[in-house]
């Protein structure tokens, strides 16, 4: 992919989106221009503000701009983006997952369900983005980070809040007035031909530069909680999602701290407090539903693949934090201990080899089923430690469990060498 073209594309694209759910760093930021939120009816202060300020009557889906307006051109490009997303290689096509996400979306969006289309994109990390035409993206990494359906619904409801308060459309107008992004976008699409989610990490990061304004985020938080509560979910789950993200960011000890990231900014705490207070003021339904089992039923069958996506980043601090959280929840511990072992094996610092073996041993004893390559990993560690006999035994067990393994010839070769 042409790097420069991709960059221009991303710069243009992010002006049209807001990667807000993943941008714990994008909330309540200082130094960027303040809110364009026109409603301004819901003033959330440090005490969480007035819950009654958020009313369903204030919500309406964005409408397609007049064909003769400048915004119409940008809108058309957003529709082109959606066409690309529909055929993107990393769009998740698992019917059961997509049906589940649609069900949750419709539950929170209610009558506006038909206006919002959620696309789950296979990618590590946490992000969600709302486009002005009703297209929403969520990353598959989000599914690992929410504890229950109510937390997933909280993210979707927040994004729906942006859409139903027409924040995206307001941003389009802002872009039209202040930039040449339409020009950039057209050039980028024509010249680069890059898929919209070609470099989703960069896209998401850049989104932080042009995220929704502070007032818009407050509105989306408030209306998101309203939608969540009306749908029968426990609104008290929403703040926990953002708290998790702040903690995960802090676990990234090696990360640089760019000026526009506010992960450790006190105002992140303000946001958590506001969400918590507001949720307490909203009427919690007597049947406040968390839906932990429903989420687990959909996520557990695909969880190992999603964890591998995270491990491919080789960003071990946040990965360990993620794994420890999953282990605390406790579903299929054998799988989770295996991946904790994998983390140590791949990090390969002092004592990591020994720790990886300890976790593999725990995985074999724990509830659930470890992935089939556990003996291969054990063999690799034993080989590194010079444990020839143990390495041979582990590799043989791997081949016995996986007779059609793609690396069978190499493993057999290794067993032969270890036997010398």
């Amino acid at each position: 992919m042409n790097k420069t073209a991709a960059t221009i594309f991303c710069l243009a694209a992010v002006l049209l989106t807001a990667g807000c759910a993943g941008d714990e760093f994008g909330f309540y930021k200082k130094g960027l221009k303040q809110g364009q939120g026109t409603a301004g009816k819901a003033k959330a202060g440090r005490d969480g503000g007035d819950a009654s300020a958020y009313r369903m009557a204030d919500l309406a889906p964005s409408h397609k701009p007049d064909a003769k307006s400048d915004e119409a051109g940008i809108w058309l490009q957003v529709e082109n983006v959606e066409r690309r997303v529909k055929t993107a290689g990393n769009r998740m096509r698992l019917a059961s997952l997509n049906a589940y996400i649609e069900k949750v979306t419709c539950r929170v969006a209610g009558t506006y369900c038909k206006d919002i289309r959620v696309y789950t994109m296979r990618a590590p990390g946490f992000n969600a983005a709302m486009y002005p035409n009703g297209m929403m993206h969520i990353r598959s990494g989000l599914l690992l980070r929410v504890e229950n359906e109510a937390q997933l619904a909280a993210v979707i409801a927040h994004e729906a809040g942006h859409y139903l308060r027409q924040h995206g459309l307001q941003r389009l107008r802002d872009i039209r007035e202040k930039t040449n992004s339409l020009l950039f976008f057209q050039i980028a699409l024509a010249g680069a031909g890059v898929p919209v989610v070609g470099d989703i990490a960069m896209l998401a990061t850049l989104a932080g530069l042009s995220a929704f304004s502070r007032n818009m985020e407050r509105e989306a938080d408030g209306y998101g909680l309203l939608l969540l509560s009306r749908a029968g979910y426990d609104p008290g789950e929403a703040w926990k999602v953002w708290q998790y993200l702040v903690k995960e960011k802090k676990a990234d000890k090696d990360a640089e701290t760019p000026s526009f990231f506010v992960a450790s900014h006190p105002q992140s705490k303000e946001r958590l407090d506001t969400l918590r207070d507001l949720a307490a003021k909203m009427q919690t339904p007597s049947t406040a539903d968390k839906g932990r089992e429903r989420l687990a039923k959909v996520v557990l069958p695909i969880r190992a693949g999603l964890i591998r996506d995270e491990l491919h980043l080789r960003n071990f601090g946040p990965f360990e934090f993620l794994m420890d959280g999953l282990i605390e929840r406790g579903d299929n511990l054998a799988e989770l201990y295996f991946f904790k072992g994998e983390m140590h094996r791949l990090r390969n610092k002092k004592d990591d080899a020994q720790k990886s073996l300890e976790f593999y041993a725990k995985a074999r004893k724990a509830e659930g089923t470890p992935p089939p390559e556990i003996h291969r990993s054990m063999g690799l560690v034993h080989q590194k430690l010079g444990h020839g006999k143990d390495a041979r035994a582990a590799f043989r067990a791997y081949l016995a469990d996986n007779p059609d393994a793609g690396d069978r010839a190499m493993i057999k070769h290794l067993i032969g060498k270890l036997g010398q």
């Binding site: 420069t4 950039f184 050039i187 491919h312 960003n315």
Partner: protein, 195 residues
Amino acid sequence: MMNRCLGLFLAANLLLTGCVGYTLVKGGQKLELGQGLSVKPPRDWNRRTEGKHEIWTLDGPGLQYILFVKGIEDGGRIFPGPARRLLAPKKDTFPNFRKGMSSLEVGELFEASLARRGAQKIAIAGFTPAKFGGKDGFRFTFTYRTTAGLNMRGITAGALLGDKLFMVIYNGTELFFFDRSKGYFEKILASLTII
């Protein structure tokens, strides 16, 4: 209007800068690639070098390419790229080669590197010991899907020599281009010598 013209000019220039850098490799002649590697391609190829990486293509790297990885050392990457993502504030989280890795671990690194480039449904098969430029090495095949939804197929051959990783990676679209140029790749690989 002036601003728009300036924007167009700048954008066009930025786009064009990514289009330079290829030179022609003449077929039938032995070519020194540096780092002790040499090959004799059976036909002409387009060649672009980036440090210890070298990309050859016939129809464009999006359709097919041969990537030469010429002895990357501890901390190096299999695929060429910027030290870190342009404008991205996060640290570089690309998986890196580490000295002491085994060939199976290089396979894992390859998979993780492809994944970081957005590849989906990666499958590695036929991982086997194989001679590489006359040295003991490895070889495997792979398939994946790009973010644009295109199915790709490839072959990787390589060797770990003195804490350095050498590889030749052939990659092409499953439809047409992989098969079309596979024979050329095999001849180039067979002609590879390492001093």
